[in-house]
Assembly symmetry: C2
Homo-oligomer: 482 residues x 2
């Protein structure tokens, strides 16, 4: 539905006044215990979007969310997609004010109690000052902070400082297909001036962080076909090209001896950061020792001249995730397999374009044919990198809110990960995308004993309350919409 | 039991006379139909040695064989091993004559009717002039030809032209563990002067073949360990050595650009064939077109200067059979795996020693360390190559018997495959090993619709009858035992 139809004009009041913020904060403090109880109800849904057996629970979770948002006074509904439904909820009562899009996802990673959970993954449990349960931080706890901030405004001022649309999806952990399709079709009609995504870690428990860039991806499969059927290596070994060898040779040649990706032209479009920004990033991000400790390694490896953190954020990379073909189980089967295939993905630095890199890879693969081997490249996924302008007023508004809530200015970091939704919001819809998360790096976002640190949750609610006010002071024209 | 205890001296008669051969051949012709019915009974046992579920059937098959051999007048029994039992049957009634060891195996490859069998694999079925069923040619049909040749002699002359020991195992398709252990412990006490193995194809349906060499093997696993746990390639891609990359690099460097194995010293001990023998081998073996047709390929690949057949028989090779680690299933899991491992095997040409090659490989792997990656090499199997002297009288005896039975002299070929038992008989026991098989290349030895061509089966019985006579004319001292 076009945003115009959703706007319900009301008498304009200064909802973003200091008094408005204080009232909303007081409400949040008074109701914080209930907020957590409601979050427990949300975590209780086993909304594992990637597992068909859970499809009904995913939908029940979406319906529960929509009903809750409706009860708060938003215009909420389920939007059907090819997969799990989106939850969309609008509040359009501030004509002339900017419109903020808040993205989140209510689907969660799979969870098996046998993997080492200390309490059942879908029975949210308080231990110490954390709430344990699958999805507690990724992303139910984070989206819930924004929902409760909106409630705090609506239950006190009776209105929000800005127009707002929540878009929550149920397929983030499995490709975001429905959300990407919806944004492609309906994105412009949302009338958003800025977007906020809270689905990433803070720097540490005391230091909020705003992410200024994310890497894109190019997922590919390289398949090598050889003999028409598996051959016995006794009978044919030495006389035919083994697809696993041809494939290994391609994988080996992805990198030069210097650790750089060796595909001609690969680095051409990579954006270089000004020295001052690079120095700031080095200070803000983890150092080599911290990175290696997390990886369980005594030595790093990669492109010379960059720190471990820079290698994973400013620089592109390529990794093979698995190689199929032949037999690698118990014992030995002496086969020369008819085919071998590698799944791999490039991580693309800001400046790189997945489609252009794809052409470079295809050309590179075709340049070294091997007799008796046919090589085919299949593209599995493409997502563009994301860049956020640190000087954008929307970023400044979020940073100010976080500083006030946490008593410490957020650091500006960069991520090596990929968020296709952020790329679409940024590149296709031209929105400034505020990437500000409230998880901790050790919250177990894709691991057992996932948790949400509750003191942080309450500060996230406060951050969101303050951010809504701060965003209201921007005129729509200042948000840089194009 | 030592062979001396098995010898039952009898009055010496010229059992190997022309009359003796003719009587045995007449008996075989008269009883050929029954021989095939008995072979059907043998094929009916689902003696799949590699599948624990079939263990009882494997033992029933062994017991049936031993009882049959006992009924023919041999001293037959089961020999227990760590795995399936051996069937050993001795006839020691010709003191002063040579002793022939005839090896075979009664275990069979797995068979699933769903793989494309036109009749159930363990319900032997006559179609055209072939008997279809799992094991019909590999190796039940081939060992049965020797058993029926022995019967033909015993039921006519009342004795054999030579002393004889049958050794049939139930683990050939799964490593020959029990047999190799037995030969190591008891081999010398068998008192054999020559061995015969029929477990390989003829050149074609009209042309028998004697194999003059087989390649050895060195089975290995190369494992690369990296980070302490699977890492997310978004968070760490570009900053750590990916075990799959390190492994692929090793696999790629196994070969030089010229198609030769690039491990220093690898070819040092490879025996070179005199030009005349090489020319004879080229004429006897398949040409490139035939090899490529069997592989379903339009182009070969490998060491320059050798034909496809030479590459697989005279020259060593190495093939990777599978690569484990990470995720290669449906979709993509963006992991940098904690480990990757390749199963591979070298095929060793006559002259090469598995232990020496193993040392070369370990040294080569250790020569190129990668920061953050630990490489471990594990040896899974070792078998020496086998060489047979074409001029040995035992080979001449077998060749003459085959020429008489098939009306065509056997060609001398070489095999790229491996038979650990043959290596032990040849290198450890010092026996001339006659490698003369009666299968056809298209008999489906490890495939659906395995069959035995019955006209060839009957000629194999005749070959064996004649060979027993021919071997008797060798004095034990002439058989080259060392």
């Amino acid at each position: 539905m076009p945003s115009a139809a959703l706007a319900r004009p009301r008498p304009r009041t200064d909802a973003a006044s200091v008094d408005g913020v204080q009232a909303a904060l007081a409400y949040a403090r008074a109701n914080g215990g209930r907020f957590v109880e409601e979050l427990k109800a949300l975590v209780r849904f086993p909304s594992v979007g990637s597992e068909p057996a859970h499809a009904a629970e995913v939908r029940r979770c979406a319906a529960w969310l929509a009903a809750h948002l409706d009860s708060l006074g938003l215009r909420a509904r389920l939007v059907e997609t090819s997969g799990h439904p989106l939850v969309r909820a609008d509040w359009r009562g501030a004509p002339g004010r900017p419109t903020l899009l808040v993205y989140g996802h209510y689907d969660v990673q799979p969870a098996d109690a046998a993997d080492g959970w200390h309490s059942p993954p879908f029975e949210p449990t308080l231990r110490g000052d954390a709430l344990y349960g699958r999805g507690a931080s990724d992303d139910k706890g984070q989206l819930w902070a924004h929902v409760k901030a909106v409630e705090s405004w609506l239950r006190t001022a009776g209105r929000l400082p800005v127009n707002l649309v929540f878009l929550f999806e149920g397929e983030e952990e499995s490709g975001s297909g429905g959300m990407l399709g919806y944004l492609a079709r309906r994105g412009p009609s949302l009338g958003a001036d800025a977007a906020v995504i809270s689905d990433m870690p803070m720097r540490d428990a005391r230091t909020p962080a705003i992410t200024l860039s994310m890497r894109g991806t190019l997922g590919m499969e390289i398949e090598v076909r050889g003999p028409s059927h598996d051959l016995h290596s006794g009978i044919f070994g030495g006389a035919v090209a083994n697809p696993l060898h041809v494939l290994s040779d391609l994988v080996a040649r992805l990198h030069g001896d210097d650790g750089r990706v060796a595909i001609p032209g690969f680095y051409d479009a990579v954006a270089l950061l000004p020295p001052a920004e690079r120095a700031a990033l080095r200070r803000a991000g983890p150092d080599d020792a911290e990175m290696l400790r997390e990886a369980g390694l005594s030595a790093g490896w990669g492109e010379p001249g960059w720190t471990e953190y820079e290698r994973t954020t400013l620089r592109p990379s390529v990794d093979v995730h698995g190689i199929a073909g032949g037999y690698a189980g118990d014992g030995v089967k002496a086969v020369i397999p008819t085919r071998a295939a590698a799944k791999l993905s490039f991580r693309l630095a800001p400046g790189q374009d997945p489609a252009r890199v794809e052409r470079l890879v295809r050309r590179w693969v075709a340049a070294t044919p091997v007799p008796g081997a046919r090589v085919r490249v299949r593209t599995l996924s493409r997502a563009r990198p994301v860049r956020v302008d640190a000087r954008h007023p929307a970023v400044a508004a979020a940073a100010g809110a976080a500083r006030a809530a946490f008593g410490r200015a957020p650091v500006f970091v960069r991520s090596g990960g990929t968020l296709p939704v952020a790329a679409v919001l940024s590149a296709d819809l031209g929105l400034p995308v505020v990437l500000m998360g409230f998880a901790l790096r050790d919250d177990g976002m894709h691991a057992p004993d996932e948790k949400m640190h509750l003191p942080i949750f309450h500060r996230a609610v406060e951050t969101s309350i303050r951010m809504l006010a701060a965003m209201s002071r921007l005129s729509p024209s200042r948000t840089g919409r194009r």
